[in-house]
């Protein structure tokens, strides 16, 4: 029932792994991408660099780094897993 997608390439050492879920994944048309890490890069910069929508996502989209909630301005490093999480609806 979820979109089938090929198993992604493994990230190269030092690359950033970016994940999208649910409505964000469907809107963007992809589930996972790998990016080279540049100095001082943040989730907000990655969002912009990947052209993700909406442009002002901070009000609705949450960020996780290495599977822990983080802020849009948390520092990122090579090897990190960065996820953008649309509004949660569990339980």
């Amino acid at each position: 029932m979820t979109d089938p997608s090929p198993s992604p390439e493994l990230p190269l050492p030092g690359e950033l792994r970016v994940l999208l879920f649910a409505a964000l994944r469907e809107r963007a048309g992809w589930r996972e991408r790998h990016l080279p890490v540049t100095g001082g890069i943040t989730p907000a910069a990655v969002w912009e660099q990947l052209g993700l929508e909406p442009a002002d996502a901070a009000a609705t989209v949450r960020v996780a780094i290495n599977q822990q909630f983080a802020t849009w301005h948390s520092p990122l490093a090579g090897g990190d897993e960065l996820a953008f999480l649309p509004p949660i609806s569990g339980g």
Partner: protein, 153 residues
């Protein structure tokens, strides 16, 4: 008092809350020697209708493998941070869930009813808002829509 026992699992297929509670009771008897005096529990099931009121074919639950389990454990530990709470059970469905099927089970065993009830309620609210799950409603005609948030209390 020892740290509360946490029993947390995602359920990829249909599960029976009463069977899960029975197994948990067996574990508590084994680990604690007895069942605590107060036990509060909650079961959530899929409604037969969508939020818009039309018949639902299924509810799909997407999650973030790895982070979900870690978050549930962290939320359970935080809600159970009370010396009177002895044990917490969480079961949460993932995948395609049919109307009437259980989605979530939370149970808390404690020495008194107040901490049992509060911990159960707080943990349920926490996992609805702080664990990375996403619900999508599938209607009978095959159309589908991601939900943005939860049913109000």
């Amino acid at each position: 008092m020892a740290a509360p026992l946490l029993s947390i699992a995602l359920e990829p297929g249909p599960f029976q809350p009463l069977q899960a509670l029975e197994r948990w009771h067996g574990q508590l008897r084994h680990r604690l020697g007895h069942l605590p005096a107060a036990e509060s529990s909650f079961v959530g099931r899929v409604r037969p209708h969508s939020g818009a009121g039309v018949p639902l074919a299924a509810l799909e639950l997407e999650h973030y493998p790895g982070m979900t389990e870690a978050q549930l454990r962290q939320l359970a530990a935080a809600a159970a941070d009370n010396p009177e709470v002895a044990a917490v059970l969480v079961r949460h469905r993932i995948g395609r869930v049919l109307p009437g099927e259980p989605i979530v089970l939370v149970a808390v065993a404690a020495d008194r009813r107040g901490p049992a009830q509060r911990c159960c309620q707080e943990l349920l609210e926490a996992l609805k808002h702080e664990a990375p799950f996403w619900k999508r409603e599938w209607l009978l005609d095959g159309s589908r829509q991601w939900l943005e948030g939860n049913t109000p209390l």
